[in-house]
Point group: C2
Chain length 243, copies 2
């Protein structure tokens, strides 16, 4: 059978990976991915053929995986976190229509929203949304519309891609939109950098302080809802049992 597994390997090394992800890596003959992720999983996949493309060539990576599977080689395409959340599952499935003989199976993983939340406490204890602040693929107007809607809905926010090589002021702009839309300056927020990897760091702070914070592209940011509290060094959004 011609098969591609699209695998979310979780936030860091082996310990964040599911047993299903491990099993799919075992089964694959060839493993494709961005170099950094291949380095993470290489110790778990001795003897496998590894194929990488540069970071920005996601479509090339998908096409490569589909080509290899089309040749009859069971193939894995790995991405960090979850395969479906800002991951490779969506572009791969879009291209897969051109490879009718190839079966695609998506293996989910722990995305940065969940792994980062666990580091900070339980900020995602109630309804939340994720917004990517990268305007490479999405116009800033759409991002801004979503930030405003998240405030209108009193959602907890998890922000992906709060900075890039190109832009350092993205988070500052986003916080400005949230404040203007009415989220309180004292709202408990937090960020986690290098989740599940060496040098993991995190910080709790208010939304006003977050606006002045310097973060990089390896950081995931959390903005509380009206019910979120900072308590004992943890960010907690109650499910409501106590009310």
């Amino acid at each position: 059978m011609n098969k591609v597994y699209v695998i979310g390997i979780g936030p860091g090394g082996a310990c964040g990976m599911t047993a299903a992800a491990r099993a799919a890596l075992e089964e694959a003959e060839v493993i494709c991915g961005y170099t950094v992720y291949l380095d993470l999983i290489a110790p778990l996949a001795p003897g496998k053929e590894l194929r990488s493309t540069p970071m920005t060539r996601e479509l090339d990576r998908c096409a490569m995986a589909l080509e290899l599977a089309g040749e009859g080689r069971t193939t894995a395409l790995v991405c960090s976190g979850d395969a479906g959340v800002y991951g490779m599952a969506s572009p791969l499935l879009e291209l897969a229509a051109a490879y009718p003989a190839v079966e695609v199976e998506v293996i989910p993983g722990v995305t940065a929203a969940l792994a980062g939340a666990a580091v900070l406490g339980a900020p995602l204890g109630h309804d939340f949304c994720t917004v990517s602040l990268s305007d490479l693929l999405t116009p800033w107007q759409v991002i801004e519309k979503r930030l405003r809607a998240a405030v209108a809905g009193d959602f907890v926010l998890c922000l992906y891609n709060p900075a890039s090589h190109r832009r350092r002021d993205t988070l500052r702009r986003a916080c400005g939109v949230l404040l203007e839309a009415g989220r309180a300056p004292g709202t408990p927020c937090g960020w986690v950098r290098n989740i599940g990897r060496g040098g993991q760091t995190s910080r709790l702070l208010t939304l006003a302080a977050l606006q002045e914070e310097e973060v990089d592209m390896f950081t995931t940011v959390f903005v509380g809802a009206s019910s979120t509290r900072a308590e004992g060094g943890r960010l907690i959004t109650p499910r409501g049992y106590r009310t």
Copy 2:
């Protein structure tokens, strides 16, 4: 050390669990949880003391875990999916303030949004939000406000708790709100039942059809954004590479 692990065991049995979750179960002397989840993990934790409370007694379960840890016994509190998303991490951390000698570590897992999305394809390929339709802990007005905000922000929606023992019309009501707020009746949607367990089933359908659908409490529901497409039996929300 007095320690409680709050562990998300993922969507089903062992294969959806991370290595870190397995390791924490190994380390624990006592494992607390709702009976159904204890049954799922019992084969992985031979010889451990298992403690359960009925489904609705979440706070009792948290207090039990903290008491046991306070007595110096390393304790695990397990929940399905992720510990932080509508899970036990938030109520446990709220109670933990009263147990200053107990250290709490949250071990994240694959929540139903990610696991269900992988079954359907890649519906969460761009910004999304999760909304629980359970009005046990949240007034329906708040749920409705969030559904409307999700439409205003053109978010993909993942709906948890679309039905309960008590209420069967929750999903119908929610779809009515989404349609009234302007989400198109033809919007591609899907649901997955018993994710990662025996008897897993799923279906793709339009929002108009979803409004008429009978689902139960073991189902997770996905409502596409304006960019979501149904293609080759899969639900795909593009990241935007092709535009």
